[in-house]
């Protein structure tokens, strides 16, 4: 695990139509690192992930993946360059089986799909036991597990996670974070956007605080956790 930067945004400006949501955001993720992005509602956290993934056009600034410029690439090209994105909601195919969901996660992969699926199932044994079942019947937590598993099918360099704990019971939140931690320990870098700031910061090594579409603070997660402003604004201290 070296300290090479695998994902970087440089002064990224984007938004929906004329409305700018990000007004210049710079974040970076090193190889194998887990980085948290926290901030109040409307700070542009989810927009940042969409822009990185090419779902929103960059008005200015850019996105570098493994040193190569991927700004303006379609999602189809971005996934082939080693990026996976798990949206916050509607992140599974409800009428497909669990196994088919994973196959779709590996759509651009030509070979080794079966081997990779076995690896992913080892991380999510509870999904492996039900792989032939339709996804529509799964509980919220299990759906979130499946969404993570789908995102891992291409063995991405960086996994973008948009509020994986949203809408889950406290017990399930713990289970999801534990699973994300294991994914990271296996070598996948993670960029984690979270409303659950305290949990996200205790899980990650570094973090960014976004406010109004700009970088507000960044640094070691432990120092952010102890930061007075962060504590006052997001941790309810």
């Amino acid at each position: 695990m070296n300290g090479r930067v695998v994902l970087e945004t440089r002064e990224l400006v984007t938004g929906y139509g004329e409305v700018e949501v990000l007004r210049g955001v710079s974040v970076s993720v090193r190889n194998g690192e887990m980085v948290a992005v926290i901030g109040p509602n409307g700070a542009g956290k989810s927009t940042l992930l969409k822009a990185i993934f090419g779902l929103l056009p960059a008005h200015s600034g850019g996105v570098l993946l493994n040193g190569a410029d991927v700004t303006g690439m379609s999602p189809h090209e971005v996934v082939q360059n080693g990026l996976s994105y798990v949206p916050q909601v509607e992140n599974v195919f409800p009428s497909l089986t669990i196994q088919e969901n994973l196959e779709m996660g590996a759509f651009v992969r030509r070979n080794g799909v079966r081997e990779r699926m076995d690896e992913v199932f080892r991380l999510f044994p509870d999904l492996a036991a039900r792989k032939g079942e339709n996804t529509g019947k799964l509980s919220g937590g299990q759906r979130q597990m499946l969404a993570l598993a789908r995102g891992l099918m291409l063995d991405p360099t960086v996994l973008l996670l948009d509020e994986p704990s949203a809408g889950l019971s406290p017990k399930m939140v713990g289970a999801i974070f534990e699973r994300i931690n294991r994914i990271n320990e296996a070598g996948t870098a993670v960029l984690l956007v979270e409303q659950n700031a305290r949990e996200a910061l205790s899980l990650c090594r570094r973090g960014y605080v976004l406010v109004m579409g700009r970088n507000r603070l960044e640094g070691e997660a432990s120092s952010l956790l102890n930061n007075e402003e962060v504590g006052r604004l997001y941790l309810g201290a």
């Binding site: 993934f53 779902l55 999602p75 189809h76 971005v78 996934v79 082939q80 994105y85 949206p87 509607e90 992140n91 599974v92 195919f93 409800p94 009428s95 497909l96 088919e100 196959e103 779709m104 996660g105 759509f107 651009v108 529509g136 789908r150 291409l154």
Partner: protein, 339 residues
């Protein structure tokens, strides 16, 4: 309420099988044709998210394509006008028109049907490039898509009218033989062929949708187009495949329909209502549902016209009644999940 509706349908079927067996047989034959059309319709809706009003007329066009390939006739059937015929047709193949078994046609019809399937698939893909893809790039709303398809439906019908005229046509004019079936029923040999062909093509479509990567991608896109894009699925490729598959299904349905009844330019348009009723009954976007929806609508139509108090002219209003009932009671369809 959905369970009640399903129970009602089951009771109706049991009664119909006991009391109106011949009508049920006809209904299954007609239902299998509807099912083919409805599966294509539901797939187009699922992947492209609009009601494809040109579906019935595409069916009619493909039936005329097969007619052209078989007969080579390129003129209307008007008095005083000589019939022009293409120099080469499928019927020129060695003994292509000699009747197989008790059927009214030779293997030429199968060749024409296969070629028509390819042609129709091509036509739908080209129409997508010319019309719908432009609308997608402009992010047009669903109403614009549906109205565009309605325009194409009228254009297709008018074009067929201009070329072949309004008079009904047939693939063959020989006497049709019937076959005895168990339980004291009989059926035309041609209808047995229709049923067999429809089931074969449905099985092929099922294998494509549930066993191949691209088929699964089609279902994934029908489920959640945004997530399909995020997963790296080439959405434009899936759209082309969807049109091609819908075209193949529509063509087989169209040829079988012309074999069951006869060819005329109104053939497709009058089927639009039963087709939509079938697709909605099965849950829009659900291919298995559309198949059973087509079968149910076909049988109910065929049985209801045997009622003494109803004129057979009300046949298509049956589909309308089913459509209204299902939209009122269970809009997600018999096999759909409430969202």
């Amino acid at each position: 309420m959905g369970r009640g509706l399903l129970l009602l349908i089951v009771v109706f079927f049991i009664w119909a099988v006991i009391d109106r067996r011949d009508a049920v047989v006809i209904g299954i034959v007609e239902g299998s044709i509807l099912a083919l059309g409805a599966v294509g319709l539901t797939l187009v809706y699922g992947v492209l998210r609009f009601a494809h009003f040109a579906h019935g007329d595409s069916m009619m066009l493909s039936a005329y394509c097969a007619f052209l390939l078989l007969s080579g006739v390129v003129t209307g059937n008007r008095p005083g006008v000589d019939t022009e015929v293409l120099p080469i047709t499928v019927s020129d193949l060695p003994s292509a028109t000699s009747e197989i078994w008790k059927f009214s046609f030779g293997y030429g019809l199968l060749v024409a049907m296969a070629l028509s399937a390819l042609l129709t698939a091509g036509v739908l893909v080209v129409l997508d490039r010319l019309v719908y893809r432009r609308l997608r790039r402009r992010n047009s709303g669903v109403v614009i898509f549906s109205i565009a398809s309605l325009g194409l439906a009228i254009a297709i019908r008018s074009w067929v009218l201009i070329v072949w005229g309004p008079t009904p046509r047939k693939y063959t004019t020989v006497v049709r033989h019937s076959v005895d079936l168990p339980f004291d029923t009989s059926i035309l040999a041609d209808q047995l062929f229709i049923l067999g062909a429809a089931i074969t093509v449905t099985v092929l479509a099922y294998i494509l949708l549930f066993r191949t990567k691209l088929g699964k991608a089609m279902r994934a896109m029908a489920d959640n187009p945004e997530l399909a894009r995020i997963s790296g699925i080439k959405t434009e490729l899936v759209i082309v495949l969807t049109w091609a598959l819908a075209g193949g299904l529509v063509a087989v349905a169209g040829v079988l329909l012309a074999l069951q009844a006869q060819l005329d330019p109104q053939l497709g348009f009058v089927l639009l209502l039963p087709l939509f009723a079938s697709a909605i009954l099965g849950g829009v976007g659900n291919p298995q549902g559309a198949f059973f929806g087509g079968m149910i609508v076909g049988v109910v139509q065929a049985v209801v016209v045997t009622f003494d108090f109803l004129s057979p002219g009300y046949k298509f209003s049956v589909a309308f009644v089913i459509l209204i009932l299902i939209l009122l009671i269970r809009p997600q369809g018999l096999f759909g999940v409430r969202q």
